[in-house]
């Protein structure tokens, strides 16, 4: 007999009644929709899923889901998610946030989360700007984007999150586009199914501070390549792509982090160890 889930989950099962305060047209609405679609497809009970975030417009996402939510401090989503996952390995853990939260103030955690390869999915809603603080450049912002905090542009080379994830040891790397919530949902499903640290970078336009990102819908295109488990091939692919290749760009086979199985030692045995 095949097990039938007691409840039929729909995307609606994962939505809370808190109404998002995102601007109309913000890409993050579609990411929320993609996350709920993915969870429904995976038939995960909402209370078996934890959504962990930092601070930013995108980081508001836990409150809009019906899952276990944790809204932490700016930049620490991955660290908090790591603690949560090792304490409750049975839960499906999704860390989510923005490019500022994940790549600037939280950048060090990004490197080490990839390295540690704890079984979780990290969704970054990349809009190449700090939306919440009203339009400052982030590490993924183009060098010539002029703003009050970057007079005449930062002049800095953009951060390349996918390449960095690969170099740091992430086990699954995909790029999604908020303009295609179904495609985005499929990628999130694959990310959650793949053991280890899965990184999904979602191009999610900030229509308010980067209105030109509405054009992303004409630029995003499916990656014309099959997923590879060869890091060298993936590196070449990621280093040379146009930033709008959508799909799974790397899926490795690295064993995920396992919590150390604590040896159960009795006090008597311990005492023996310390005997002189």
């Amino acid at each position: 007999m095949t097990a039938v889930p007691a409840v039929a989950y729909t995307p609606q099962s994962y939505k809370s009644e808190v109404k998002p305060v995102w601007c109309p047209g913000c890409g993050d609405y579609s990411v929320l929709s993609a996350v709920t679609k993915a969870l429904a497809k995976l038939e995960l009970p909402p209370e078996q899923v934890a959504v962990v975030s930092g601070i930013g417009c995108s980081s508001r996402i836990p409150a809009y889901t019906n899952c276990y939510g944790f809204h932490g401090v700016h930049g620490r989503a991955l660290a908090a998610a790591t603690g949560l996952k090792v304490a409750r390995p049975d839960l499906t853990v999704i860390a989510a946030g923005g490019d500022g939260d994940g790549y600037s103030i939280g950048g060090n955690h990004f490197l080490h989360a990839c390295r540690r390869n704890v079984d979780m999915t990290y969704i970054v809603m990349d809009n190449r700007v700090y939306g919440m603080t009203k339009g400052q450049p982030s590490p993924t912002t183009e060098p010539d984007w002029d703003s009050k905090l970057s007079p005449h542009g930062t002049g800095l080379r953009e951060f390349h999150p996918l390449v960095i994830a690969l170099a740091s040891g992430a086990n699954f790397i995909a790029r999604a586009f908020a303009g295609d919530p179904n495609g985005c949902a499929d990628l999130i499903v694959q990310a959650i199914r793949t053991p280890g640290f899965s990184f999904v970078e979602v191009l999610s336009p900030c229509v308010t501070f980067r209105p030109e990102q509405r054009e992303w819908k004409t630029m995003a295109h499916p990656a014309a390549v099959a997923p590879t488990d060869d890091p060298a091939r993936a590196a070449r692919r990621l280093m040379t792509d146009d930033g709008f290749n959508i799909g799974i760009l790397y899926a490795g086979n690295r064993a995920p982090y396992r919590s150390a199985q604590a040896a159960r030692v009795s006090p008597a045995e311990l005492e023996k160890e310390f005997a002189l």
Binding site: S16, V18, I55, A63, N66, I105, T133, K148, S150, T154
Partner: protein, 417 residues
Amino acid sequence: MLKQIEGSRAVAEAVALCRPEVICAYPISPQTHIVEGLGEMVKRGALAPCEFINVESEFAAMSVAIGASAAGARAYTATASQGLLFMAEAVFNASGLGLPIVMTVANRAIGAPINIWNDHTDAMSQRDCGWIQLFAETNQEALDLHIQAFRLGEELSLPVMVCMDGFILTHAYERVDMPTQAQVDAYLPPYVPRQSLDPAEPVSIGAMVGPEAFMEVRYLAHVKQMRALELIPGWAEEFRRAFGRDSGGLLHSYRTEDAELVIVALGSVLGTIKDTVDAMRERGVRIGVLGITCFRPWPQEAVRAALAQAKQVLVLEKSLAVGLGGIVSNNVRTSYAGAAQAVRTVIAGLGGRPISRASLERVFAQALDGTLDPVTFLDLDRGLVERALAREREARRSGPIAENILRDLGVVGARIS
């Protein structure tokens, strides 16, 4: 020149007049308009030569400022709230090294629960870190204090934090008198560092010091702050002569001559307090105000003298030492010659809670008739608190406090199905 501008803009212009050479910026409300104002000036070329660095975090902001200052540059940054806490290690480092960085703190509450509104918890968390801490009452004072801060910090080789109330000052449009470049240049000499990473005369900064001398180095930091106490009044006087107004200094007394009750506070709430006091004075109440401008170093003697006549002292503060009560009030108690019980604490305005004249008048009256508790939380909603406590009594797993309270208030719908 008189201008009607936003507080943040006023501070940005004042900082620009001080000719900073390196500015590090990471945005956080309500500080953002200050660094954005400076960024705009950099773009117009109005601030050359100045390196404006968009950094990746506050920790980076303070660390870059430390490097720049150690290399002999006049360095500036600004932050608020979570940002100040995030940079805390570097904040201590800057003062320990004696680097005269100037930083604006646009005072805001600290989470959790996350809150972007004004109180003084951020600045108070760093009160003993070795920085000079100045609190502005008005936008005029905020801009003036920045000019004084560079002078003070560089003279003493100490970093200076200028605190201004987030939103209440940073986002308020007020009339300010903006000094000219010539006036500021005359008041603030070019920076001559006491220590600098100079290739011609190599030194190493940041030595490890063991038990044999650590106490002495820390003591010298204390000596420097005590020295600041001696110098600040003179510099404020010099400022008054040069700019024609009273700004800065250690503290300001208002209608305290014959006051039985003196209200002590920091920052913009002094305006509301003075209005309340004026109204009470009209009815013959002997009440006055003591505004503390310089919180660190603590003006021990000046406060003692200012409170010498007072029979009762009420300290109104926008911060809470959880598990103790007041922070400012405990400082005040060390400087009050009368009985410690005569100094009462009123915690007010946490997380942006409005402080109304009606509420102030009520607690001032209670202080005068002796019915005010030693520690009072202004306009605390007891009903909400009781419901939360009851929930905790009833169930072990009572849930997150903030979310429960918001649900009680009907701000969010019940999320747990």
